[in-house]
Each structure stands twice: as C-alpha cells, then as structure tokens.
Amino acid sequence: MKFDVMLTGVGGEGVLTTQVMIARAANIEGHYVRGVQLHGLAQRGGVIPTFIRFGSEKEVSSPGIMQANADLILAFEALEAVRATYYARKEKTTFVINDYPLVPIYASLFNIPYPTMSEIVRRIKPFAKQIHVFRTSHLGREKFGSAIFGNTILVGIVTGLGLLPLKADSLREAIKVTAPREMENNIKAFELGLQLGKEKRSARRVT
C-alpha cells in the first residue's frame, strides 16, 4: 500500500506543522512514512510544496512524490492549487482547496490579476478526479480567532470526506503532540472539519 499526499501553500501558513501532524498520525497507524519539507527562501512568503507519503516500506522510499502521482492534494492557498497540477492526474488525484487568496505582490506589480475561484477550478479540472472547495481560513478566523486554524479544519474535512485513509483518532492523537500550546482549539477545529466533511460526504455534493 502506498498513499501520496501533497500539501501546498505559502510560507508562514503553517503548512509544515500540518505535515508533521499527518505524518505522526500515519506513524501511529504503523505505516512507514517518508516525505519532504522544502524551506529556506520559501519561508518568506514563497510557495511551499510539501509531501507526506505512507504505506509499506517496500513501496515508499523517494522523499518526493512522482510527477502526476499524488492521491490527494491539499491546497492551503487557492492559487497554489494550480501550480500543484504538476503532481496530479485525472484518474488519480483529488484536490481539496482552501478558498483563501494570498495575493502575491506581483499581481499588482506586473498587473497579472489573481484568478477567480472558478478560473482556478477550470484550470485544475483536467488534472483532477474530484475538486472540493472550502473556506477554512475564514472559518478558522471566525471560530477560533486566527486563519491558521483553517489548516486543522481542512485536515478534519478530508478525514470526514474519507479522502485521507487515516483514522480520526490517530489524527486527534497527533494533534495533541504536534500543537500542544493551541491543543484545545486545534482539536475543536479538527472536529468541526470532520463534521463538515462527513456532512458533505453524506450529501454527496461533489463539485
């Protein structure tokens, strides 16, 4: 068994913490885990493509995912979902996008406007089995006082939707060790996401 998750977003959004969270949950379930974080310059508002791979030790060894081979792509920033298509293909990849634009300074500097959400979805479609869009950063700010909780909400959503083959309990346990300072809110954020995911799953409303 092998499952390839890609997280993408912008430096400072908490993508790396989310990677550690999911990796720990996979470890709790006894999977062999690989992955890579790419920081450095990217910490300063650049793109952070991040991978988590889990499954059997025999099948998983490269730290990065092969082109066109991600099972699941979580985009914490909407625009970056488009650049992640490099790792996606129609038969295999599900996109879950946080509708939260962090407009790069180049939008105004070079006059290349930030695309609308429907434009983003249109560009991704040829590479996606399914596309789900949520506004988790807004929800995070609204419910827990900071957009950063949107990440944990999103992880809850994909778990609820059944898109991340890990148990909710493993993720709860991973959250506790990964974010001890903000544990309470993170657990609440996860439960909220889980609920939203389950509801959407039962309603079978797939965009």
Partner: protein, 628 residues
C-alpha cells in the same frame, strides 16, 4: 519531543533531527555550529535539548570557529560534532586538513549538507565530496533519516577507532526529508576532558609533518579495508546490468525500479571516501553495463571507470551521459535514464504532462519569496533608494535581505558569499567613481564582515563605499538563531549583547545608528553619511518582525495592525508597487470593477512604515478583532 523518545520506539524524524539523535546515541558531549540551511535544524535541535540532555552546545560566530572549538573538545577526549551547509565548509576549510593529519582523541563528526537545486541557497551547487579527498578524511553518506541516525552514530565510532575526524555528508532531500526512524539507546554524554601534550600527535612541522601525512594515508587504507565491505551493500538482482549509487539517489533508484518492475543488482556505497576498490571491482567484474546514480559531480562514476580498466575493461559505464551534473535528481529524472538502459517503458510521458501543466499555469500570477510584511529590511532598502537612487551600485549579501534582489527593490546587484559585498565594493570604489552601498546583516557582520571594514580603514583609498548593517538582532534567514549581538546563547543563557556600532568604531569607521522603522531617521542618517569621506557605516536597527510577532504571541499580546482609509486613498499605488509590503493588496471589487487598496489583517505585522510612505496620510492604525 520525538528526538528524545524512548529506545525501541518508531517515530517520524526530519533527517537533521535523526542526525542529532544519532549523535546522542553516540554520547556526544560538545557541539558547536554556525547555522546554514539545509543543515540548520541540527544546531536548532541541539539548542532545544542541550540543557535537558546535559551536553554543551554553542552557536559559534562562524563555521571556522565552530570547527576549531569542536576540535579542542575532541582533542581533550570529549566526543564532538560540528555542522554546516556546504559553503560553511569553505569557511572552516582552512582549519580542517591539519586536524585530519594530527587526528583526534575522542570521536569527532563534521556534518555537512549540500544543496543540489539550491532550495535553500544562492551562490553555487558545490559538491563537498571533493573535500573528503582533498583533506584526507573518511566520508559517510546516509540515504534517509534512519540512516542519518545509524551512520552518525557509526561515524563517531570510526572516528574514535582511527583517531580521525569523519565527514557525514548529506543533501537537502535527506536533511529536509522525513522518515520513520527506530530509536536506539542514548548514551550519557561525557562533557569533561583534559588536553594532554603530545608532540608526536600534534607537532606538524617538517619533518614530523611527513610522518603525520603518512599516518593519515595509512588510516585511510585501514578504514577502506575494515569498512569498505561492511558499510557498502550489494542488493542482489537479475541480469548483467547493475546500478551503483549512494545518498538520496539510492532512494530514487529503489522506487523507480519498483515502478518499472525491474530487479537489477544494486551496489549502494555509504563510505564514499575512501571508496573500497575491492567492493567496486567485485560488483562490476561480471557486469556488462552499470548506471552510476549520484547527484552533482561524477565522483563515483570516475572511480568506477578507473577500477574498470583492470576489473572489467569492456564494461559500459553510464551516468552523466544520461543525467545532468547540475540541479538535483528525482523520480522523473531517474526513470527515463533507467528506461533507456533497460529498454522498458513506464508508460508515463513526463514531458507531455509537463507541457499540459505549463499550459494550465499560463499567465498565472507568479509567486516568489518576499521579505515578510513589516520586515525592517524593506524599510531600510526604501530609504537607501530614496537617498542613493537607481544609479548607485548595491552590493548584496546572504541573509533575508537577499530578497532585495527581486522586484520592486532590485538592490542586490551581486551576491558572492557572506561578507563579500563589502570586500568587492572596496575594489569597485578604488577603480571607479560610482556610489557604492554594501548591505550586510548583523549575523553576517560578526561572521565575516569585520576584516573587510578594517581593510577600508587600513587601505583608505578611492571612494569608500557606505556599509549598511541591517541589524535585526538575530540570524533570521536560517531560522532565528542568536549571534553575538542577540543577548543570549545557544543554551539560552543571557549574555551582554555586543553592539555593532562599538565594533565599527574600534575598526576605525564613522558610524551612525538609526531606527529601521523610521523613514525620517534613516534618510537623515544616510544623507549625513553620504557626505563623509572615508570608512562609514550605518547601523539600521529594527527587530525581525516575524520574531517580534512570535514574542508578542507568547506574551498573549496583540500586534497592532494598520488600515487604509478609503476616503483618503487616491490609488497612487506607491504602497504596493514601490514599497510592496505583501500585506497590502490591490484588488478589483465587483460589481463596479473598482480598484481598492486594502491591508490583509491576517498578515499585517504592524511595522507602521506604510503609514510613513503614504503621501496622502491614508494609512492608520486599526484594531485587530479577536487577535490571540
């Protein structure tokens, strides 16, 4: 923390964390390092746990000093370690070979991280494996976090057994990769020792120098004999074509072969210096062809070529004929090379997919790294450009301010190495009449800039450049490590911070200090300094804003945020196009298609500089709702 988990447990660690755990299992007692990504999490992890574990850790002022300190400990019988990125090894390089000759008493591991593809560097893609050959030191190369742990531990043993410092060489996709790691027993560190005088060991003047030189040659020979077979592995397989590989390339080879359904024999080399001749020759002697998979330089490949002359002259050797010498490898690069050699297809057209991706991303708003919202460097750059204009030459350096190389700042005309902007500017100032401004960070100032400023004073000729020290009180770029001006050490002890202006005065230059967040102060200081002849330095002081925010959060305080008054805003675009704080967003608002400038409250870090540069006075402080 996972690094300190119980033995026997399986945890997920970053390669750099696994290296720390390996060192702890080897009982390391002394660690000194200067940060450099992709090695930075090694010292950062040590810094976090040193007190708890009871070992000594320091952030040294540069890599050379760190290496020397660790040498002193290893010479005195305490297991020691130093870590750095590839360029750091260039800085330490002067002190390393004599220590390889004299040898050590306790185990001494020199960890170095290369950065193929330059994920965390500018400058070059140097391959430090050459250093092992030049300096006559053994080199071990892990492939994944588990091996990071195992081989760090083993490197200490080899070092102590043969009394020689040992390199542990990694690359970004190893140190920054995560992986499942099984933990072993930690050893209580020995932290006290004694230096014993021993001319036979340390006296490296002629003719004893040649004795030491022969000794190190002999040690390498013995290491090759003892560990050449033990450390390198052959994974048996089918057919007459073999793979020879090391480091992260092994991980790619393994997975790529599985994808392609191929099972050729693989020789994995962990001890990449000295490479075992018998190991390689045994592997290649019955093969028709081999593919050597290694990133950057064809070091293994050249070695195989040399051995093949005797062991198997008809062997066809592939490597850099199919794969690049620059950039990094990955599955998409390795698979086509295997496809060619084995004549088997995976059925994915990587190029075709790439074309489709490019067309889907056409005209997409680009995103590049930028200085954080509220960064003091942006404010300093803005003021310097106001005073010196577009024509002045702006010497760059390597810190967060390297991002000043990008639009719209464009004030890093060249970047050589840490501290080099000041040195290069000296030459430009002497042969030309151009205005030159050399930027340098505070950590970089202590690391490498002081001799260059001293040289301005000593050889006070031509038009002396203005040095601008961007003093944000921390080594920000590599993850906020303290330096001599920060006021605390790697062990978290408070110390009196060294003031850069005091050092500059002692070096013999004029100095002015300005608040980095005050455009008025900056411009006044810059104008005054501009008219001064001779060595001159502006210290632009303002804390790293990202760190300030963290400190605010830790104290439960809210950082102030700013807002644009839509009534007053004339949409001139200065705040986005010239100043370019990423928190300020220009957007078109439907339904009327009106352009609106606003500040994103999630990312504004409240530096108040946009308020100063807005010609309409349209920006003012706002209250952040629900701020935690």
């Amino acid at each position: 923390m996972d690094v300190l988990e119980e033995p026997g447990k399986k945890v997920v660690l970053l390669g750099n964390e696994a290296i720390v755990r390996g060192a702890l299992e080897a009982g390391v007692g002394f660690v000194a390092a200067y940060p450099g990504t992709p090695s930075s999490e090694v010292p950062m992890t040590f810094s976090r746990i040193a007190k708890k574990v009871g070992l000594y850790f320091e952030y040294s002022s540069n890599e050379k000093v760190a290496f020397e300190a660790a040498t002193g400990a290893a010479w005195s019988g305490v297991r020691a370690m130093t870590s750095q990125k590839h360029f750091g090894l260039n800085v330490a390089a002067d002190s390393i070979p004599p220590v390889a000759y004299t040898g050590v008493r306790a185990g001494f591991v020199v960890m170095v991280a290369d950065d193929p593809s330059a994920w965390s560097s500018a400058q070059t893609e140097q391959d430090t494996r050459y250093y092992a050959r030049m300096f006559k030191m053994p080199m071990l190369e892990p492939s994944n976090p588990q091996e990071c742990l195992d081989y760090t531990k083993l490197a200490f043993d080899i070092s102590e057994e043969f009394e020689i410092p040992v390199f542990l060489r990694t690359t970004t996709k190893i140190t920054h990769s995560i992986g499942t790691v099984r933990l072993g027993e930690m050893k209580k560190p020995k932290i006290r020792g004694r230096f014993q005088k021993d001319p036979d060991k340390y006296y490296n003047l002629k003719p004893h120098l040649q004795v030491l030189h022969e000794r190190v040659n002999e040690k390498l020979k013995q290491i090759e004999e003892k560990y050449g077979q033990k450390l390198n592995t052959v994974f048996p397989g089918e057919g007459k074509i073999g793979i020879i590989t090391s480091g992260v390339s092994f991980e790619y080879a393994k997975e790529a072969l599985l994808e392609l359904g191929l099972k050729p024999p693989i020789a994995k080399i962990v001890l990449t210096h000295p490479i075992s001749k018998s190991f390689v020759s045994n592997f290649i002697k019955d093969k028709e062809a081999v593919l050597v998979l290694e990133e950057l330089e064809p070091i293994l490949e050249n070695f195989v070529e040399q051995i093949a002359k005797e062991a198997n002259p008809n062997l066809v050797i592939h490597g850099k004929d199919l794969l690049p010498k620059s950039d990094e490898y990955n599955l998409e690069r390795v698979i086509p090379a295997l496809e060619k050699i084995f004549g088997k297809k995976l059925g994915i057209d990587f190029n075709d997919h790439k074309k489709k991706v490019d067309s889907a991303s056409k005209n997409l708003t680009p995103r590049k790294p930028v200085l954080c919202p509220g960064c003091p460097h942006r404010s300093t750059f803005y003021a310097v450009k106001k005073v010196f204009g577009d024509e002045a030459i702006y010497a760059g350096d390597i810190g967060c301010y390297i991002l000043g190389a990008l639009d719209p700042i464009n004030m890093q005309d060249f970047i050589v190495s840490m501290g080099a902007g000041i040195g290069v500017s000296h030459g430009i100032g002497i042969v030309s009449d151009q205005d030159v401004v050399a930027f340098v960070g505070d950590s970089t100032f202590f690391h490498a800039a002081m001799p260059a400023i001293l040289n301005y004073r000593f050889n006070n000729a031509g038009k002396t450049p203005l040095v601008v020290v961007l003093d944000n009180a921390i080594t920000a770029m590599t993850g906020h490590q303290p330096h001599p001006g920060s006021g605390f050490t790697g062990m978290g002890e408070k110390v009196e911070p060294v003031k850069i202006e005091d050092v500059v005065r002692a070096l013999g230059a004029e100095v002015k200090v300005s608040n980095a967040f005050s455009q008025k102060q900056l411009i006044q200081a810059l104008q005054e300094l501009k008219s001064i002849k001779g060595p001159k330095v502006l210290v632009s002081r303002g804390g790293c804003r990202l760190l300030t925010r963290r400190q605010f959060h830790a104290k439960g305080l809210a950082i102030p945020i700013f807002q644009i008054d839509q009534e007053k805003c004339t949409k001139c675009g200065i705040c986005t196009n010239d100043f370019a704080c990423p928190a300020i967003v220009k957007a078109t608002v439907e339904p009327r298609g009106e352009t609106v400038y606003s500040i994103n409250p999630d990312i504004c870090l409240g530096c108040a500089v946009c308020m100063q540069i807005c010609p309409e006075g349209a920006i003012h402080i706002a209250k952040r709702e629900g701020e935690k």
